[in-house]
């Protein structure tokens, strides 16, 4: 088999486009919630600082949302172009779930996004709040359906394969939607979105603290973000643990890969560092804590942990990627816990604004949530290999039969170049928006942010001429 055959290229292409895409919804799901919160605060307290926070963050939201829309559109067609056998076989199950996502979520988001962004002087404040609410609600609904579809591919239920057609016939939609791993995955991903966003907002706020700009407004957003981190970081660790137990039950081989555990054994060690070797079926340079994996996975130091050798070689996922992604995710989760706790301590001491090292840590952690989310998805998706539908349909049997490696290589190259280009542009405008910062308060507001900003007119943003 050649090193880069059509299957590997199609997998690389999907991995790249879906990883690129997930960065943007992760931020928009969380930011929609944040915007809803500050608009509610503005309506409740009439404090215009909240309104200015809204106007600032909604620009970042809009920029990010646009990226999510265009990169998501690609995915809805890629199932057909590159994975037509998967579409033919699983379409009857996955199709309606994605269809419901479009019908209930996408239209709601898109319909009210216009009102949310451009409708300030066209609808009243309460109606505008409703538009923000519906956009936020839409992003959550969207996660509901797409994670249901993804979870069904991990833990299929409620459908059987028709022996004549060779494709799925759904039997029980409730069992399909609420398949065994769905609620864990939904909770884990929604929390990841909010946590990632909270860390991001804390980082942007820390930038203003460190540079001494917009500090009055940044104090507000940092406070909101750090309360969120303090609650969400431990919550996420708890949900992650529960999700891990669920994976152990339904996808034991994935867990074996996460732990780089080759032999089924009682009292399995927790491996902190290792270079797993799939050929020799062992780890190099292993550093481990005795009985640690058994304790974490079975909540019993002598519990039995599944091993990779439980299944034949060809049924195992790539171990190294799963093992290391898992460690990156967990390590960053601990970092978020540290930020939450340190933030609470600094708040108690009254040094949130002045603590240099804390603010530097927040600034440096800005991308950390995204990296953790991606790492988590690598564990879930690479760990599902060599299947697209776990235990049923192999990835090699899911690919479009006609498409050649050359064609996929061509489009993959174009994707790399195009996505690289637009991502650079996105970062450029994101940094530009953050550097300019929130607009100055209108004259009747309290003068809490006196710095003049070149090019920004109070309350009105015009397209550059």
């Amino acid at each position: 088999m050649p090193v880069l055959d059509a299957e590997i290229l199609a997998r690389l292409q999907f991995a790249f486009t879906v990883s690129f895409h997930i960065l943007f919804p992760t931020l928009t799901i969380g930011l929609a919630g944040f915007l809803l919160f500050v608009e509610a605060q503005w309506l409740r307290t009439n404090d215009n600082a909240y309104l200015r926070l809204y106007h600032f963050w909604v620009r970042i939201f809009a920029l990010t949302f646009g990226m999510g829309v265009v990169s998501g559109l690609v995915l809805s067609y890629q199932f057909g172009t590159n994975w037509s056998e998967f579409s033919r076989i699983a379409g009857p199950v996955v199709g309606p779930l994605i269809g419901f996502e479009v019908l209930t979520a996408f239209f709601m988001e898109a319909g009210f996004l216009g009102v949310m962004l451009f409708g300030w002087d066209k609808v009243g404040p309460r109606l505008h709040f409703l538009a923000t609410f519906l956009v936020a609600f839409g992003t959550t609904l969207s996660s509901f359906w797409i994670l249901s579809a993804n979870s069904w591919m991990q833990t299929p239920a409620g459908a059987h394969i028709d022996p004549i057609l060779g494709s799925y016939i759904p039997d029980d939609w409730i069992a399909i939607i609420f398949n065994p791993s769905f609620l864990y995955r939904l909770a884990h991903m929604l929390t990841a979105s909010f946590l990632t966003t909270a860390i991001f907002i804390a980082g942007v706020s820390a930038y203003y603290m460190l540079s001494g700009k917009h500090t009055a407004l940044a104090r507000k957003s940092q406070s909101i973000a750090l309360w969120a981190v303090l609650v969400l970081a431990p919550l996420q660790i708890f949900i992650g643990d529960q999700h891990g137990l669920n994976v152990l039950e339904h996808q034991p081989v994935k867990v074996a890969a996460m732990e780089a555990n080759w032999e089924r054994q009682a009292g399995a060690p927790l491996i902190l560092f290792a270079l797993p070797d799939s050929k020799l079926e062992k780890n190099h340079f292993e550093i481990s804590i005795p009985k640690g994996a058994s304790l974490i996975l079975t909540h019993d130091i002598n519990g039995v942990v599944p091993g990779l050798k439980d299944v034949p070689r060809e049924d195992r996922p790539p171990v190294g990627i799963v093992f290391w992604s898992f460690r990156v995710m967990v390590g960053l989760g601990m970092l978020f816990l540290l930020i939450g706790v340190w933030g609470a301590y600094a708040r108690y001491k009254g040094t949130l604004e002045t603590n240099l090292w804390f603010n530097r840590l927040c600034l440096a952690s800005m991308p950390a949530g995204f990296i953790a989310t991606l790492a988590g998805w690598f564990v879930a998706e690479v760990g599902r290999q060599p299947y697209t539908i776990y235990g049923v349909l192999r990835t090699s049997d899911s690919i479009s039969p006609i498409i050649s490696g050359t064609m996929i290589a061509t489009t993959l190259t174009v994707f790399l170049v195009v996505y690289g280009g637009i991502f650079s542009a996105y970062l450029y405008y994101l940094v530009k928006l953050i550097r300019v910062g929130p607009a100055l308060p209108a004259p009747e507001d309290e003068a809490d942010a006196p710095e003049a900003i070149q090019g920004a007119r109070p309350g009105l943003i015009v397209p550059a001429e």
Binding site: G91, G114, W120
Partner: protein
């Protein structure tokens, strides 16, 4: 109850709504560099900025809908049109991000103006290639695509590609005519006359060529009483064309836009009766391509509940932004 037929109706309606809605905003992009000045370009951009995202969602519904109701059509058409589909997606990426990036840009605005124009043009042309390629037919064996990667490429599909560019251009021009004033509006009327003429020529050429590439279509169009039953299609098309030019020459604001939509609706019906009962010509019927009954019922219940709501709030979103678009616009309250 014939679920496949109902589902085909739902998808056909969804695609028609897509063509009309995204048609005018893609058309605005196609005409973008030809606008008289930057002020006009701002008006044009602002007239579609609040709604383009919703318009494009109908395309996701088209793709998603095929996967839901006709998985075999989805899994054969997309590999068959691999390159045009990829071209469409890349083009939509460029024009989609142009909305936000242009707004944030300063010195690089010209770059996003070009992305908006180029993306709109290429997206439209590749959709036209798809339409032409589909009418020509797709080779399917055993429910899998079995043709070549460039089967879709022919003089006919290039013609439908160019025809759709003119068609979306017409929708865009008549939309701008409705949403703008003064110099921009006068320019958009002239653009609509040019585009309208091009559309009529393209429609005529496609109508002449279609029965020639597949004799079965000639039989469908002209055989027996069919010629009589189908007579309203060309007649209504002609009537809408007359209304379009009447509206343009008498400086009406709404009539040209709605007549242009009428032209599209009747052209679409024409393609529909040509293809029926196939979902992928020449041989895959809607019943053969249909999803299992349990998938159909589940999804149709969802459509029955959500589609009226979607139409309701889409109408609401449009009504919030009714009236003339302004040349400055933004997110903040003013």
């Amino acid at each position: 109850m014939d679920l496949a037929l109902i589902a085909a109706g739902v998808i056909a309606a969804g695609i028609l709504i897509y063509i009309v809605l995204d048609g005018f905003d893609l058309g605005v992009g196609i005409l973008f560099p030809f606008a008289p000045d930057d002020r006009s370009r701002n008006v044009m951009m602002n007239s579609v900025a609040p709604v383009w995202d919703g318009n494009e969602t109908w395309l996701i519904l088209g793709g998603g809908g095929l996967l839901v109701f006709f998985p075999i059509a989805y899994s054969t058409v997309l590999p068959a049109f691999y390159f045009p589909v990829m071209l469409l997606l890349f083009a939509l990426i460029f024009r989609g991000i142009a909305f936000e990036f242009r707004h944030s840009a300063h010195t690089s605005q010209y770059l996003w103006d070009r992305a908006f124009f180029g993306g709109s043009l290429v997206a439209t042309f590749s959709q036209g290639l798809l339409v032409g390629g589909l009418i020509q037919g797709v080779t399917i064996v055993d429910h899998r695509f079995a043709g070549g990667m460039f089967d879709w490429f022919s003089p006919f599909s290039v013609l439908t590609g160019l025809g759709l560019v003119a068609g979306y251009g017409l929708l865009g021009a008549t939309w701008i005519n409705m949403k703008s004033e003064g110099e921009t509006q006068a320019w958009s009327r002239r653009a609509a006359i040019v585009m309208g003429g091009a559309v009529l020529i393209a429609m005529l050429a496609v109508s002449v060529m279609t029965p020639l590439i597949r004799p079965a279509i000639a039989e469908r169009w002209f055989g027996g009483v069919n010629a009589l039953i189908l007579a309203p299609v060309p007649l209504m098309t002609a009537l809408n064309a007359a209304l379009l030019f009447y509206g343009l020459f008498t400086n009406r604001e709404r009539l040209p836009f709605f007549s242009a939509i009428g032209l599209f609706v009747w052209g679409y019906i024409g393609i529909g009766v040509t293809m029926y009962p196939n979902i992928v010509p020449p041989a895959l019927t809607i019943w053969e391509a249909a999803a299992p009954r349990s998938s159909m019922i589940f999804a149709l219940i969802g459509v029955a509940i959500t589609l009226p709501m979607i139409l309701g709030y889409t109408w609401y979103a449009y009504s919030v932004f009714k009236g003339k678009a302004s040349d400055h616009g933004g997110y903040a309250k003013h």
